[in-house]
Amino acid sequence: MGENIRFHFDVDGDDFSSAGAASVEVKKQLRKLGFSPDVIRRVAIAMYEGEINMVIHADGGTVDVEVGDEDITMILSDRGPGIADVEKAMQEGFSTARDNIRSLGFGAGMGLPNMKKYTDDMKIETALGLGTTVIMKVNV
């Protein structure tokens, strides 16, 4: 087994213009590693949604991506308010985004459902007032 490749990104809060930048960078790197378009797209979309979530709800956070022989793992951590009801948050169309965020076209309540849909495994660790960590895996 070869050495895993890691990427680390800091995601700024309240900065919509640069939200999604980490996802674009990862896409570029995965292309260089020769992954199939399908794998790249799934990773990019899941990560993009996660990044946007961190900007909307948690004033930013960090993304760590680990590329292994069998899967790609994304760990998104923030120190935001935490998710009160994970089951409800996973429902399509459910969102707690404020109106000003919705007016930007975000907050459609598809973030977490899409992250689950595009990945092979997703875990959410969350604590109210402390933050949320989402761990996603895409098999290669």
Binding site: G2, E3, V24, K27, R31, K32, L33, P37
Partner: protein, 437 residues
Amino acid sequence: MTEYKHSVSLDVSKCKGCTHCLKRCPTEAIRIREGKADINSKKCIDCGECIRVCPYKAKKAVYDPLDTMENYKYKIALPAPTLYGQFDHLDDIDFVIQGLLDMGFDDVYEVAKAAEIVTEYTRHYLHKEGLKKPVISSACPVVVRLISTRFPFLCENVMPILPPVEVAGKLAKEKAKKEHPELSDEDIGCFFISPCPAKVSYVKNSFAGEKSYVDEVLSISDVYFKLVSYMNKIDAPEASCESGMVGVSWAVAGGESTAVFNDKYLAADGIENVIKVLDQIDNSDFPELEFVELNACNGGCVGGVMTVANPYIAKARIQSLKRYLPVSPNSHSADGSVPDYVMMPELEYEPTSPLSKDRKEAMRMMADIQEIRKDLPDLDCGSCGAPTCAAFAEDIVRGETCADECVVFMRQVFHDYIARHQMRMEEEAEKRRNGNS
């Protein structure tokens, strides 16, 4: 696959190996090797940014010379709508058409006319069921190539309808054969008078596997002065413009999409903006959009590097020229279908090369790149010949350059050497003093 032919060339004697083009290339296709710019043809998308920024005019657009007109018995000019915006005090497009005829063309088929036909079919196409939305315009060849090399999942979104210049070429040739049955295929030459070099590549590379209907691509800037001298001699033009507002508006960013009569559209121009929009469409679904028009040049085709006029002045001229034109005299298909002759095959994905075909090897190389990057200054100064420190690290691992090319790294090596040398000198002086005492 044969090597992709590009339409940007380098005048080696003028190139100083500076970093202007290196830093501006949106696909990082340029490196400075041995003091001269070198373009990676697999990565180049013919956007012309390097031509635009070169302070020494070392980068040049490649196009066909005017004297290729001598190679054909029957010559047809296909003027891009952008051409109309190049002239000061022009209030009637008829002067341009007449000027082209006086210059030696046997016929003129306006690309703006074909643009109206394409607009009409775009409207019909958007009504088809089961289309992947948003539909992305196929008119800008730079955008089409960008998508085919970088956005595999958007290839399907690109509208499979030929760009106006191809439709113009096809219809012009049919018209010529009908009017002059004695002419053979080789006798007829279609000359596109183009604002941009990407159209040259498009024609020379037999796009999407089909031979282009355009035979030669002339540059607007090359044709301009000759044409102006003919136009100045005209009192009352006999020839008349056959295009309308819709077709002429294609010269300007947003012109194509406003004519589609569907307000769920997005129009972006400038290559950096285009890339950002594509990245975002690629990430999320943009369900509310039906049509996306993307122009690699700022302002649209009027911003092409083979034009003469300032793009924004050209845009203003187009605005006043089209005021008294009919809306769209060339829309004539009532049944809502899209004929086969304007269709092209679906765009194919042609990825630019990964680090290695073997995943394990690629991973090892990526680890090496990350290791090398730790020692690089992240200044992205370009002195090494690569646009960024990240690209430089990749070039080292790919074996295309070596770490010594980094001036910051070498300066440190030099400083360390001097420091060591000084220390040694002091030690020796100390020894001598001790020996003498």
